[in-house]
Structure formats: C-alpha cells, structure tokens
C-alpha cells in the first residue's frame, strides 16, 4: 500500500477542475473558497458537509483518519508540513486553514491568501473544548455557523448514548495505550483528546501522570504499568496490528494482572491529533469495547 503513489496522486487537470468547481459553487452560495492544511480541520469540515478546494496530505488522511472520507474532487495540495505553494497560488483560495504548529508557513501563505490559525493541542487544558470552539469558528468562516453548532450537539447526543450504554460498567479505571513494537508504547493522559472522551463518558483515566508528548500521551516502560492491576486496558490499533504480538508474547506482559484476567480491549486505529469527529468515533468504539454493546 504505497499511499502517495496511489490513484489520487495521478488525478490530473480535468478532475481537479471538476472538483474545484463544486467547492467554488459552494463558495458562491455561502462564503469562501477554502483550503485546509490540517487533518483535524479537514475532518471537521467534511463532517459538517463543507467542501474545500484543496486539502493537504489527502492520501495520508484517507488511510489514517479515513472517516469522514475526503469528498471526491478535493485537490491534494501536498504534505501538510510543506504544501505546494505554486499550486496554492494557482488555486487562489479565499482562506487557508492551518493548525498552530504550522505557523512557520505563514510567510509563504500570507502572500497567497488570508490564513486562519486553529489551536487544539497545547499540552494543557482540554483539546475537546478547543476542538468544539474550533468547529464553531470554522463553520462561521465557511458561512454556515449553524453547521458548527449542529456538529457539537451531535457529539453531545453520541456521548449521552454512550453513557447510557455504559450504565452497567464495572467502574474500573481505563488505561488507553497505543503499541509501537515489542517494547515501546505510549499511554494517553490529561491534555489528550482520548482523556477528554473518557471524562465525557464518566470514566476514570487510570493513568494520572502528566503527558510528555504534545498529543497528551507519555512514552512509558512496561514496568510502570505493573502497578495498574485494577485497570481495564484499551489498546488503540495501529496499521501494523500484528507487530503488537511481540509485546503480547513477552513474559512480563503475560504476567501482568490485567492480561491474566483478560481485561484487554481493542479498538481500531485513531489519529492522536484528531478533532471532534475523531472524539465522537472514539467514544462509540470505546463504549462498544468496554460494554460489549453498540452505542445507541
């Protein structure tokens, strides 16, 4: 699966014109021609049904974030860390949307169009709250303020459904982790989106340590998990699921209480820098894994 060499990379002029027409038709009725250079912003816009003329790293988005999918005809403008400036100049957007960590691109982007900076991850506070605020701001820029409020409200409904489904949950704290290989993994804590979802669902995050990574997670040694015998452990999937087997085969892992008592749950892959749609999807899958039922 070589994502960048895939079908989309070879979309040529004709298809691009067709797609940019739909974004431009949308813009003519509601507001501005938009370009999104961040996956979190892209997924938020797509979830609100707002098309963009161009988006960054489309192939990567479709394989890692995946849902909601990139609308047909969205032009791939290159990597989010280094979007193609010549192409952006030719697309002539009315507004370019970036995350705060892309501020280094400002001197290149500002000659092309105004730039709106969104901040969701800062190593403190709540990414969920900031994602809600960002959703409203993005919707307003697109000329659809109602869509922003609607997406936030949809999320609250999803969380309420999950809380209802979790009514019979055993109350154990939850440790959310992502495994890289036989020896390395990260655990999500405060200031991460997944922690906020746990709180929204009335669950306790079993890992209290402060995050060392920007996404609100820490890279830890398995030894420090030994004291968490009471917790339910939720493993977030990675593209290479089977790589986890090396960890599962190790003697120390096999002797940990939550492994022996089969309190390990698996959920699919989620991007750790996601926005509202990621939070909503994670809530659903987490509930299904913990309660053993699909959320309402």
């Amino acid at each position: 699966m070589p994502p960048i060499l895939g079908r989309r990379a070879f979309l040529t002029g004709g298809a691009a014109v067709a797609l940019s027409l739909s974004a431009r038709a949308f813009a003519a009725s509601t507001g501005k021609v938009l370009v999104s250079l961040d996956w979190g912003i892209s997924e938020t816009l797509y979830a609100m049904g707002i098309p963009v003329v161009g988006a960054a790293s489309v192939t990567g988005y479709d394989s890692i974030v995946a849902d909601p999918p990139t609308p047909d005809g969205t032009r791939d403008v290159g990597l989010w860390a280094s979007p193609n400036i010549e192409l952006l100049h030719q697309l002539a957007p009315d507004l370019v949307l970036i995350q705060s960590w892309q501020a280094g691109l400002l001197p290149l982007l500002q000659p092309i169009s105004p730039v709106e900076i969104t901040t969701i991850y800062t190593r403190d506070g709540s990414p969920y709250a900031r994602a809600c605020a960002a959703t409203r701001v993005l919707a307003t820029h697109a000329g659809r303020p109602d869509a922003g409020a609607a997406l936030v409200a949809t999320g609250e409904t999803v969380f309420a459904g999950c809380r209802a489904a979790l009514r019979g949950y055993d109350g154990r704290p939850v440790v959310v982790m992502k495994v890289y290989d036989g020896r390395n993994f990260i655990i999500f804590s405060k200031c991460g989106l997944f922690h906020d979802v746990l709180e929204k669902l009335g669950l306790t995050n079993g890992w209290a340590g402060p995050p060392t990574l920007l996404c609100g997670a820490s890279s830890v040694d398995l030894a420090s998990l030994a004291g968490y015998g009471e917790a339910n452990v939720v493993v977030i999937g990675t593209p290479g699921q089977k790589a986890n087997q090396k960890l599962y085969d190790s003697d120390l892992w096999a002797s940990l209480p939550f492994v022996k008592e089969r309190r390990i749950k698996h959920v699919p892959s989620f991007w750790e820098f996601g926005a509202l749609p990621t939070a909503h999807r994670f809530a659903g899958h987490l509930t299904a894994a913990l309660a053993g039922v699909e959320p309402a």
């Binding site: 193609n84 501020a103 890289y180 290479g240 002797s255």
Partner: protein, 652 residues
C-alpha cells in the same frame, strides 16, 4: 626509550581507572534501583523479566558494538569507521520502512527478518562495489558510504512522505534497551561469545592488515579474504544488535576511541579493552537514564548514549594520539591544466543551463508549463528564490567539502561531518522545542547561532591540538551524533512541530526567500574567491606538516585558515538548505573523478557541480511526485550516490 616504556605502563593503567570510573557508578546505580523495586510478586516479576534482562542486554550490546567498531576500524584503517560504515543500519532501516508501508500486517518476526535481510543486502552491496578496488580500505569506505547514503536517503524520503504511518519505525531507530523477557539476551549472548572467539583468532592477522598492504602481502596474508571475513563477523554482530535494540549510535565509534585514548595501543589490547569500555559505557548510560526517572525515563537509550557519550569523547580528544594512519587517496590520471580549465568552464555553463531549466519548466495545476506563457511567468515568482538558493548553497557546501577533504585527507570528510551543520540544526530544535518560538526569521537566527557556537568550540578545541584533522573530525562527529539522536527522538515522539522542521533538516529549499537567495549567491561568490586566495595552502596541506613548514608557514595556522573558510561556507549553505544535503561530500569526489585535481580547478569544479546537483535535485524534487515535494538534499543523495558509484570504478 624510557619515556616510551613509561607511557606504555601508564596507558593500560589509565584505561583500568577509566573503565572502573564507568563501571562503579553503573553498579552503584543498579544496586540503588534494585532496592527501589516494589516488594511482593510484582517486584519479583520486574526483577526477573525487566531489570535483569535489561542490565544483561546493555552489557552485551555495548560490548558487541565496541567489538564491531574495533574490527571495522582496523580493517578499514579509519578511526571514523563504525559498525554502520558499510551501510548496515541504513539498510535495516530502509527494509523496515518498506515493510511497515507495504506490509503493515507483517508480524514482528517478519519485520525482524526484513531488517536482517536489509542489513545484509546493504553490506554485501558495499563489498561488491569495493570488489573492483580489490576490497581496499578506501574502496570499502566509499562503497559503504554510497550504499549507506542511498539507503538512508531512500528511507528518509519514505519517512518524509509517510511520517504518520512510520512512527513505529522512528521509535525503533531511536534505540531502546527495554526488555520484558530474556529473548533478546538469548539471541545476542551466544552470538557475542562466538564473535569474540573468532575475533581473538583474527587478532594477529588483523594487526598486520591494519598496518599497510605491503607488509601484509609480504607475510603471505590474503588481504581480500581476511578483510571480508573480519567485516562479515563485525557486520553480522552489529546487525543482530540493531535488530534487537534498534539503532544505538556512538558506542561502536566511541568505545574504541575511548579505549585508544585511555592507552590501548595495540590492536590486541584494543580488542580486549574496547568491549569492556563499550559494555561499561552503555550500561552506565542506561542506568543513569533509568535512575533519573521521569521525564527522562522515556528517553531511548540510543539517544542517551549519544548525549552522554559525545561529551566524553570531546573530553578525551586531547588525550588521543593519532592512531591509525588515514587512508591514502591514490592519485589517478590528472588532466592537464588547460583541459582542467576548460572542464570547469563547461561545468559553469552546465550550471547556468540547469538554473534556466529549473526556473522555466515545471508541473503545475493543469499539467506541464514552460516557455513564456502567463502561467509559467506567474509561477516564476515563487520559483526563483528556491532555484537560486539551491545553486548558491550547493556551490558553497561543495567548496567547503573540497577544503575539508584536503585538510583532513579523509574521503569521508564533508561539511555535514564537521558538525557546523548539525550545530545549526540543534540551534533550531532548541528554539522550537525549548524556547517555543517558530518562524523563518528566528529559525535563521537560531541556526546561525548554533553553527557559530560549534565553530567556536571547534576552534577552542583545535587550538589545543594544533588543528589535528583527526580530532576535528571526531569532534564534528560527536556533535553530529548528538544532533542525529535528538532529531530521531523528536521524530519518534510524533510531534507535528518536528515534522514541520523535517523538510529543512532533510535539505529542502522550501523556505528560501528571495532576499536569502540573493544573499546566498553573493556569499557563494565571496567564499569561492576567498578560498581561491588560499590556493597555495590547499595544494600543500594534503602533503603534511613538513611541506607546510617548508613554505615558511605554521601548520596550525594554515589549517585554522582553511577550517575557518570551510566553516563559514558551510554555515551559509546550511542556513539556506538545512544540515543534510551531502552535496559537500559528493561535489569534491565528482570533481576529482572528472580529472580536476589541481587545488583551484577542483574547488571551482566542485562548486559548479554542487550547484548543478542541488538545482537539478530541487527541480526533480518539486516535480517528481507533484504536488508532493521531496527535500532536494535527500533526492541529491539518492541520485548522486549511484552516480558517484558509477564514477568510482577507478578508485583503488
């Protein structure tokens, strides 16, 4: 004679003190951590399945890497060689990257197999390349360099394009000794014991080989076979370590150096002491990392070794006597002076052509554009800073490479190795992650400050040692190792801010502004003119101290002048296109292979070639995967590597 005897006595004794100085604190820390373990069943589990295997693994890995380093340095007669010089870990990394992207569901065992296959293939290819050169040290180093560059660049391009999918590979490449069972020890311990036994058998013939070819031949030793056997031994062991623990830098290079600095003079003593040093060094580092605890508990050992080992190396440098003779560059045919001049002029014309093509032709929204149409002209506004910036930076870095290769007599010397580029990279990383400021202006200032600091350090260090080339290179490598380790750690953290820097760090013209491009071209012209004034120095410095003195010059001052010129050009080039272009390595070699061997023709020829390489690489990088753009430096390494390979057919 008495002084020599005294020295010989002092040497190993000093080594013993140093080894004890590393081992005693390591043991102390381990004991302290042991009594910190929780009691009960959990404590027992942690002791048996985590604490003990990790301790054992750190000792075995340290000793293995140090043993490999000693063997490789002896075979290649190069004190800068290390287990990965033959492309071993770059090959493993490329194979792992490909496996992770194209077969994400491959089980971990399959990935380890892929890493071993990658490491073995890369090493074998290096040896195949060196075959025509009779497996001489120089041809092996060049072959390894080319394969390593190629694999490293290919892996980095894939990493640049798919960074989000490759976090696990980045984590692996930052090296970790974490162990949750005895499987790693069970794999490595027997391999290390076998390798140590074989190394003991090889010690005698290797001692002879490490001297020079003629004395080895006169003793009836089959050079090629012996070199292959020794390298196969070292590389197999290094590849196993890489598979079990990931990339752990510095030990393979540093432990033999430390052992030599501590007085291990003969190869036999080195083969004994350097694994001892390596084991103590890695064990101490790992125990320090574990004892310091959060937030450093998560620090991969590979990173920590580089952070702690590099200063140790710098501290020991003044105690290091020139051990191995550096490889001699045999002079092949030199073109006559007039023809050299014509070739340089031809290369300059080629440079101008490349610039024109890169400015005008390119892929755009509706397909290819060229000529004087409105589309092509409107895009020119965005293109010219990148094209001219690439030309200026390529020229300066290649010219700096000529100076450094002549100054050090080492074909591996390049601006990137000097550490000045890495200083720039470190400056930017500290600005973005410690100070929390981003933006092209502050980043430029931080890069300039970083390279100036490294430059200052090089001069302070150099003044004490009479600007000994070998020490300068080792100091540069220490800085580069630290930079590489920190960059790998930040990549593994998945931090988007690091991904933003990745382009510049891989040699991209993406952020070059118009003003910077013009300043770069002016700086390029000035540095070439200034370096040409040093032509007498350039011509005689490779001939050694006596030749310099014969001209009535001080060797230290002559070297300092060349170092200053090279560093300034490196700093200016790095500010434009980042610390990892390898144009500074390729330009001088290509110029020499084109027959440009006079000091000034090689300088100008290399500069023109550097500019051509960077401009064409940047052009291809912008158009190849449009709208995706690859850093030009990576593409230059990918394309330039095989080209260098083709042109080094004659190197013996």
């Amino acid at each position: 004679m008495t002084t020599l005897q005294a020295r010989r006595h002092r040497g190993p004794l000093y080594g013993r003190w140093l080894a004890a100085g590393l081992a005693v604190p390591a043991a102390g820390l381990a004991l302290w951590r042991l009594q910190e373990l929780p009691g009960g069943e959990i404590g027992h589990l942690l002791l048996v399945y985590s604490f003990l295997p990790r301790l054992a693994l750190s000792l075995i890995c340290g000793a293995s890497l140090a043993l490999c380093g000693t063997i490789v340095q002896a075979v290649l007669r190069n004190p800068l060689a290390e287990p990965t010089t033959l492309g071993t870990s770059a090959g493993a990394q490329l194979a792992l990257t490909i496996a992770a992207l194209w077969w994400p569901s491959l089980p971990w065992v399959g990935r380890e197999a892929a890493a071993i296959i990658g490491a073995a293939t890369a090493t074998m290819l290096s040896c195949v390349l060196a075959w025509r050169g009779g497996l001489s040290p120089l041809s092996l180093i060049l072959g390894g360099l080319i394969i390593g560059l190629f694999c490293g660049a290919a892996a980095a391009i894939l990493g640049f394009l798919h960074s989000e999918q490759l976090t696990d590979v980045f984590v692996w490449s930052s090296g970790s000794l974490a162990q949750y069972d005895w499987s790693g020890v069970a794999v490595l311990l027997p391999q290390f014991l076998v390798a140590a036994g074989l190394a003991a058998l090889l010690a005698r013939p290797l001692t002879v080989v490490a001297l020079d070819d003629d004395s080895a031949r006169s003793l009836g030793i089959s050079l090629g076979a012996l070199r292959l056997a020794a390298l196969a031994l070292a590389v197999a062991l290094a590849a196993s370590v890489v598979c079990v623990a990931g990339v752990i830098g510095f030990v393979g290079l540093g432990a033999p150096t430390v052992a030599r600095a501590a007085g291990a003079r003969s190869l036999r003593t080195q083969l004994l002491w350097s694994p001892v040093m390596g084991a103590a060094l890695l064990c101490l580092t790992d125990q320090v990392v574990l004892a310091v605890g959060s937030p450093f508990a998560a620090l991969p050992t590979g990173t920590a070794t580089a952070l702690l080992g590099a200063p140790l190396l710098l501290w020991l440098l003044p105690r290091l006597r020139e051990g191995h003779p550096t490889p001699q560059q045999t002079l092949a045919a030199t073109a006559p002076a007039r023809r050299q001049g014509r070739r340089v002029a031809g290369l300059a014309v080629l440079g101008l052509l490349a610039i024109l093509i890169a400015l005008d032709i390119g892929y755009a929204l509706h397909g290819w554009t060229a000529g004087l149409g409105a589309d092509a002209l409107s895009l020119l506004l965005w293109r010219w800073p990148r094209v001219l910036g690439a030309a200026g930076a390529g020229g300066m870095l290649a010219a700096a490479g000529v100076l450094l290769q002549r100054l050090t007599g080492n074909p591996m010397a390049s601006p990137e190795v000097l550490g000045v580029s890495s200083g720039a990279g470190l400056g930017v990383i500290i600005l973005v992650f410690a100070v929390g400021v981003t933006g092209p202006g502050p980043q430029l200032a931080a890069a300039a400050a970083g390279s100036a600091l490294v430059l200052l350090a090089l001069f302070l260090l150099g003044r004490r040692s009479g600007f000994s080339p070998q020490r300068l290179l080792l100091a540069g490598i220490a800085v580069t190792t630290v930079f590489g380790a920190i960059a790998a750690l930040l990549m593994a953290s998945g931090d988007p801010r690091m991904r933003m820097l990745l382009g510049w760090m891989s040699g991209s013209t993406y952020l070059v502004t118009g003003a910077q491009a013009i300043a770069g071209l002016i700086a390029c012209g000035l540095s070439l003119a200034g370096m040409s004034l040093l032509f007498r120095l350039l011509a005689i410095v490779p001939l050694g101290n006596q030749a310099i003195r014969a001209l009535g010059l001080s060797p230290a001052k002559a070297r300092a002048a060349l170092l200053l010129a090279a560093s300034l050009a490196t700093a200016a080039g790095t500010l434009l296109v980042g610390p990892l272009t390898f144009v500074g390595l390729m330009g001088p070699h290509l110029a020499r292979l084109l027959g440009l061997r006079g000091a000034v023709p090689q300088l100008w020829g290399a500069a023109a070639l550097g500019a051509v390489i960077m401009v064409l690489a940047d052009w291809a990088a912008r158009n190849l995967l449009y709208p995706y753009q690859i850093p030009a430096g990576l593409l230059a390494s990918l394309v330039g590597g095989p080209f260098l390979l083709w042109s080094m057919r004659n190197v013996r």
